[in-house]
């Protein structure tokens, strides 16, 4: 039985799209005042938006790290705020105590979080599905409560376990520079994760996600791969948390350990598309920019935002970016093939529409 060759979107289109997006992100500090004359008049407004984008970059890193573990390895963590917070508190404590260079301290934040990830992974290997998720959730909660109780007396201690580490942990007053640092870290992590997930390591993780027992039967040491996924994911989440403290100038349970951070990372990943790496970036930017837009609504904005996310989850469960890809592919097929061939290609159950589950 012969089947028609499947049509693929030429990969150059994909890279062109990616390059354009990156160009846009690079140009944003200069584009914003051009597009919105308000910002030229009012630098505080520009600064606010650049800060929003900085946070969006950090959230994107967090969401990507979640995607490695949840989207690729299929280990759904509800406690990524633990790794984010470990990185964040490392930043605060180390900058106050030693005052090393931010680069070193942020890297150290990632390492501390990675150790945390490995510690969580050890018992997590015995658990599956909801039990694993619950364990990560409880671990994150436990650490948050620990910090609230311990009230570390370092730097300028705030209420409820907060550490104010200004000026030691303050990166720069230049919002544009800070945005570029965050963007650089995000792009670096995206490239790292992209390479990682397309390597044999990523393939092994996907095999574990699809069917762990079959992966073992294929000779994979699933425990080892899952542990590595936990460590790697925690490392990257820790980097983003460590940077975040350098952005806001303090570490507190509310700012870096709140469970809502975990939820937002998951929502961003799922909004953009699980198991895609680039999807979570899209999701995080969508989330943070919408949040800023809805600022006028005050506390209500989160109600609107999460309702919006619910809507997307219901209507486009595969994620917005994945949906966009499918639409692009359809358009491409319609352009370059007679109608019959398109139908055939769709009927053969082509792959590639989703790396989604």
């Amino acid at each position: 039985m012969s089947r028609p060759r499947q049509l693929r979107l030429p990969s150059c289109l994909w890279w062109i799209g990616l390059g354009l997006t990156l160009g846009l992100l690079l140009a944003i500090p200069y584009l914003l005042p051009l597009l919105f004359p308000d910002m030229k008049v009012n630098p505080i407004l520009l600064r606010r938006w650049l800060d929003t984008l900085t946070v969006a970059c950090l959230w994107a890193i967090l969401a990507m790290s979640w995607d490695l573990l949840g989207g690729y390895a299929g280990q759904i963590s509800f406690g990524h705020s633990l790794f984010f917070g470990l990185g964040g508190y490392t930043s605060a404590v180390m900058s106050v105590l030693f005052g090393w260079s931010p680069v070193l301290i942020i890297a150290l934040g990632g390492l501390v979080a990675a150790v945390g990830g490995l510690v969580v992974a050890a018992p997590a290997l015995r658990l599956h599905g909801p039990y694993l998720s619950l364990m990560t959730l409880v671990a994150a909660l436990a650490f948050e409560r620990l910090m609230r109780w311990a009230k570390p007396q370092i730097g300028i201690p705030g209420a409820e376990g907060a550490i104010l580490c200004i000026p030691q942990c303050f990166l720069t007053f230049d919002a544009t520079a800070k945005y570029y640092y965050a963007l650089g870290l995000m792009v670096g992590m995206a490239l790292l994760l992209y390479a990682l997930t397309r390597s044999r390591f990523g393939l092994a993780l996907e095999a574990i996600r699809d069917d762990e027992e079959a992966a073992q039967a294929a000779g994979l040491n699933t425990a080892k791969y899952k542990t590595l996924a936990f460590g790697m994911s925690a490392f990257i989440a820790g980097l983003s948390g460590a940077f975040y403290v350098y952005h806001i100038g303090s570490a507190s349970p509310k700012a870096v350990l709140d469970l809502e951070i975990s939820v937002q990372a998951i929502v961003a990943s799922v909004l953009g598309g699980l198991g895609t790496i680039f999807g979570p970036i899209f999701g995080a930017f969508f989330f943070k920019i919408t949040e800023e837009y809805l600022r006028l609504l005050g506390a209500l904005r989160f109600v609107v935002l999460f309702s919006l996310a619910l809507g997307v989850l219901l209507l486009v469960p595969g994620g917005l970016l994945a949906k966009l890809r499918v639409q692009l592919r359809r358009g491409w097929q319609a352009l370059y093939t007679p109608a019959g061939a398109v139908r055939n290609a769709q009927e053969t159950g082509e792959l590639g529409v989703g790396r989604r589950r």
């Binding site: 044999r200 699809d210 073992q216 039967a217 294929a218 000779g219 159950g349 590639g352 989604r356």
Partner: protein
């Protein structure tokens, strides 16, 4: 001749259910062993015990003289035993070729294992098991057609039942096993497909691999296997050539009071 695999009085219970009781048998190098029993006799449990999915409560499993009971599955696979599942379990979101490639990934993260070598082996396994022929490619053409072969683009979802069984075997073959355990490889296949698959299995034996084939009846196996082990309620009922076993009254009794197995 020294046995390649030896089960020595292994037992396994799940709660109150004694799934396998004091079971002993051996597999000789280079043979095709039929491992049969009525539904629920414990055949798949025995496979899971050998593969390290379960740990036997008592007894030893020796592979090439080495006790492998209690080893994790991946270690057993890397030692040279592979299995296929009764219900094919492909990695649904990956292509057919990637399904096979997964079995070639080393567990050492930093070991050099260039992609082109893995892919060459994938081609070999896909061609070997006739996966390419399903799309009208000539036998062995995947080896030369490279990535234009449908295996590199199609998901396992596009395979018919017989194709999924072949994929299972291709995945197992990729680990280069000395001993291959096949769990009901003929279930749900037409006679023509059974004959074709039998040819492949004989081929594998010619290569020097040892095969154990599970089935719940012997009809399809009679011509293929050298020896048969019959189990019933987790215990060994009979062992011998297919003819001997078919005439064994205890075996006939086990299969619905006298109807031929």
């Amino acid at each position: 001749m020294k046995a390649i695999l030896e089960l020595a009085r292994i037992s396994k219970a799940f709660g109150g259910l004694q799934a396998v009781r004091e079971l002993s048998f051996e597999v000789r190098p280079g043979e095709i062993l039929g491992f049969i029993g009525p539904n629920g006799a414990g055949k798949t449990t025995v496979f899971n015990l050998i593969m390290g999915v379960y740990r036997p409560d008592r007894g030893q499993i020796l592979f090439n003289g080495q006790d492998i009971s209690g080893w994790p599955p991946y270690r057993i696979v890397n030692a040279g035993i592979a299995r296929t599942f009764q219900i094919p379990r492909p990695f649904r979101h990956k292509t057919i070729a990637q399904n096979v490639e997964i079995a070639l990934i080393p567990n050492e993260i930093f070991r050099r294992n260039p992609g082109h070598k893995r892919r060459a082996r994938v081609r070999e396994c896909c061609a070997r098991t006739g996966l390419c022929r399903l799309w009208g490619h000539e036998e062995g053409s995947c080896a030369t057609a490279g990535d234009s072969c449908a295996c590199w683009q199609q998901s396992p979802g596009s395979l018919p039942q017989a194709g999924l069984r072949r994929l299972e075997i291709a995945k197992a073959l990729a680990t280069d096993p000395a001993l291959l355990l096949l769990d009901e490889p003929f279930a749900g296949l037409t006679q023509a497909e059974v004959d074709e698959l039998s040819l492949l299995l004989r081929d594998l034996r010619e290569e020097g691999r040892t095969l154990v084939i599970v089935d719940h009846n012997m009809r399809g196996l009679m011509k293929l296997v050298d020896r048969v082990v019959v189990i019933h309620f987790g215990q060994k009922l009979a062992e011998g050539t297919p003819e001997e076993v078919a005439e064994n009254p205890r075996v006939q009794e086990a299969y619905l009071a006298g109807s031929a197995p």
